[in-house]
Amino acid sequence: MASAQLLSLTGISKEFPGVKALQNVRFDLNEGEVHAIVGENGAGKSTLMKIISGIYKKDSGEILYKGKSVSISSPFEAQKLGISIIHQELNLMPHLTVAENIFIGREDRRPGRVFLDNSKLVDGATKLLKELDLNLDPNAIVGELTIAKQQMVEIAKAVSYRGSVIIMDEPTSSLTPAETESLFKIIRTLKASGKGVVYISHRLEELEKITDRISVLRDGEYVQTLKTSETSIPEVISLMVGRKVAQDQRPENRKVSSEVVLRVANISDRHLLKDISFELRKGEILGFAGLMGAGRTELARVIMGADPKNVGEIYLHGKEVKIKGPSDAVAAGIGYLSEDRKRFGLLLGQDITFNVILSSIPRFSNKFGFLKVKSATGIARGAIDQLRVRTPSERQYVKNLSGGNQQKVVIAKWLTRDCDVLIFDEPTRGIDVGAKDEIYRLLTKLAEEGKSIIMISSELPEVLRLSDRIAVMCNGRLTAILDNKDATQTNIMEYATKFSEDLTAVN
């Protein structure tokens, strides 16, 4: 199809403190085209989309929209130009109706502009939904619809701006196969009417069905653009993973004892996790790889008792433990270091000492409930020295520390509690490159000292570098447990994208 170019980006760069998120990236989109952007977690897909939709400002580069150079400095401007984005997390008001959601902020009013004209609003929505061939009641309350239908409301809303470019970020992540099919039908309708769709998905098998071209990003850099009809999923995966041999470090041959510390048997929850079983040995680092939304954090929270499990058992040192809440898990010797330290790990407004002793306060108090301030201070000072936390004193507020030092404070908290099992969820997220190495050394040292570690990470080089074994999850299921020597970025990626239930095809 020889059609006009809607969007053309060249030389786009964006830097965050300590991270080059995008370097010299290009991308273009034609009328009536579905163009996919793929890449591993952290490849820069979201950053690029946020630049196109005006949420982030680019540091350099040029954006042409319908041939004209534009600067998009706010989401509002993007919308005015005709660029709409449908985020992975839906941004709808659950208590309002479909029609009200579609036209939010642009409601029809009666003459005098004071009162809303509801019938006109509903008419507009009805017309739009018919045009898109969507089977939705404009008066339905959005919160009562299924996720798939809510997604359709988002699409209708995006189309209602009458723009030419629609960006869809992981639109199928919470849809069933049947719902995905109906989404594809809508996308084909949009295509036929000349709109351009930017399609971001981890589900590579979908790309063959719906996209015309695929662009691959890796580590914030543009890799290649392929015609879907002329490529294959394995080729796309190998481009995504790239030839990162240089930084492909593996753990030195550690001796992991055969003693099983933690055994998780047949865990399922009500939403995502399906029949997960694995063992964790003394002194082992067990990596958990998978795409975002694969269920790794959910699994960690279930083990911690932070969220309820439906079925399944947890055994520690061979004995079953009933974990009803985090206090049971901590008492049994399991510590959890969340990916979101600020929300789930730290008391930001309190000092280092307070944070370090938080899990072990009974140990730092006498029988009358009075705190032993001196010994708490001593422990905090010791932890600062041992973990090399860079801070003027143990009385520094944690919010004034850098990401890496905050992470060390959380680690210190669990070391002070003397847990046997530590679950690290994205231990280096938000931490700059220099501090990452330090965290890696610390994890390895903890394992050597006999701690058993579960490490959830979305960075494959990190997983390969530290883990003795690697568990791969996809869509709530455990799709593989690989020995480090058998694991490669490519086969981990394959297991991580096995959305099909039929696992025998892989093995």
Partner: protein, 338 residues
């Protein structure tokens, strides 16, 4: 990844004294305001500063609100609120009065009994909040109305008179163990010191701050947050019980309809004292200063013969000013704001 990483080596700026001043700026401002207001009234009417007015007028009128405010400080530091302290106080007063009469309890048993009943009422709040997972505002709004009704029911709408029947009950608040220093004020002072020690030196106090700073992180650290919340609301209730005892002693009776509205005065004292409604931050000394600022204002305005209606307006303005000033200071310091 998009998270900007802060430098750990922020300039500490100046000496230790400067750092201390910055840390304590909120409380220093409150003390300074108190001194300014006090001086203003003294200049306007020198009688204002007489010991008789200070002890009998200002300090005595601070006792009940002060005790309620100390209890509320604990609850507010957890990020919660207790709207029931006022009417609970009335209910405790009635129950204690009835029991002391019926069982012919001595003064000490009566005081203890009041504190226990108050603690139980507080524990009910804590249980409603943790077991039924109700927001503190809703749970304590319900118990506020419940306690108001029960006080009237139990008392049969009649006040209970103490003085003639219970020997020494009036001296709980009005006696002078220390010459010229009313016992009620002494009780407030001791209660504040004990509260401050609990808040700063004990496990309970530490968890109060932890829950208010980040409930989720505290829970994930293995702390039984629900248990501690019940304990904290119960502690607040103990202060409510003590306030009820002091109140009945001052009045010589338990009034079933006296208490509604006290909860807001107590909350105002806590807020003026620099405790954040968001939780995680606060001091007992600040709360006492906050309560004193309100008493001094009311007393002074009364001496200046300002109409009572206008006294309310002034107190409202002071609350606005105090919290706004604190927010400006916090925003400058890059802290979270109420």
């Amino acid at each position: 990844m998009s998270e900007a990483t802060k430098s750990a080596n922020q300039p500490e700026g100046g000496s230790k004294v400067a750092a201390l001043v910055r840390r304590e700026l909120g409380r220093l401002t409150a003390v300074a305001s108190l001194v300014v207001i006090f001086t203003f009234f003294t200049i306007m009417r020198p009688v204002f500063a007489s010991w008789q007015n200070v002890s009998g007028g200002i300090l005595m009128s601070t006792t009940v609100i002060g005790l309620l405010a100390i209890g509320s400080t604990f609850v507010i530091i957890t990020g919660g609120i207790d709207l029931s302290v006022g009417t609970s106080m009335a209910l405790v007063a009635i129950i204690t009065g009835k029991t002391v009469m019926a069982l012919d309890l001595n003064v000490w048993s009566g005081i203890l009994f009041g504190m226990v009943v108050g603690g139980l009422l507080g524990a009910v709040n804590g249980l409603l909040i943790t077991l039924l997972k109700l927001p503190p505002f809703i749970a304590t709004l319900a118990t506020m109305k419940g306690a108001q009704g029960l006080a009237l029911i139990v008392s049969d709408l009649k006040p209970i008179l103490f003085t003639t029947d219970v020997k020494g009950w009036d001296s709980i608040a009005q006696g002078n163990i220390i010459p010229n220093f009313p016992n009620g004020v002494l009780i407030l002072l001791v209660a504040a010191i004990v509260g401050s020690i609990i808040l700063n030196k004990t496990v309970l106090g530490r968890y109060t701050f932890a829950i208010g700073s980040n409930t989720e992180a505290t829970k994930l650290s293995g702390v039984k947050v629900n248990h501690w919340l019940v304990a904290i609301y119960a502690l607040c209730g103990v202060y409510v019980g003590l306030a009820a005892v002091v109140m009945t002693s001052r009045l010589g009776s338990a009034q079933p309809d006296l208490g509604l509205g006290y909860e807001l005065e107590a909350i105002a004292a806590v807020i003026i004292g620099g405790t954040s409604l968001l939780g995680g931050k606060g001091t007992i000394s600040g709360t006492i200063i906050g309560a004193l600022i309100m008493s001094v204002l009311i007393n002074g305005l009364r001496i200046l013969e300002l109409q009572q209606e206008w006294q309310y307006v002034v107190v409202g303005a002071v609350i606005l000013l105090a919290v706004y000033g604190d927010n400006v200071r916090r925003r400058r310091a890059g802290e979270s704001v109420n």
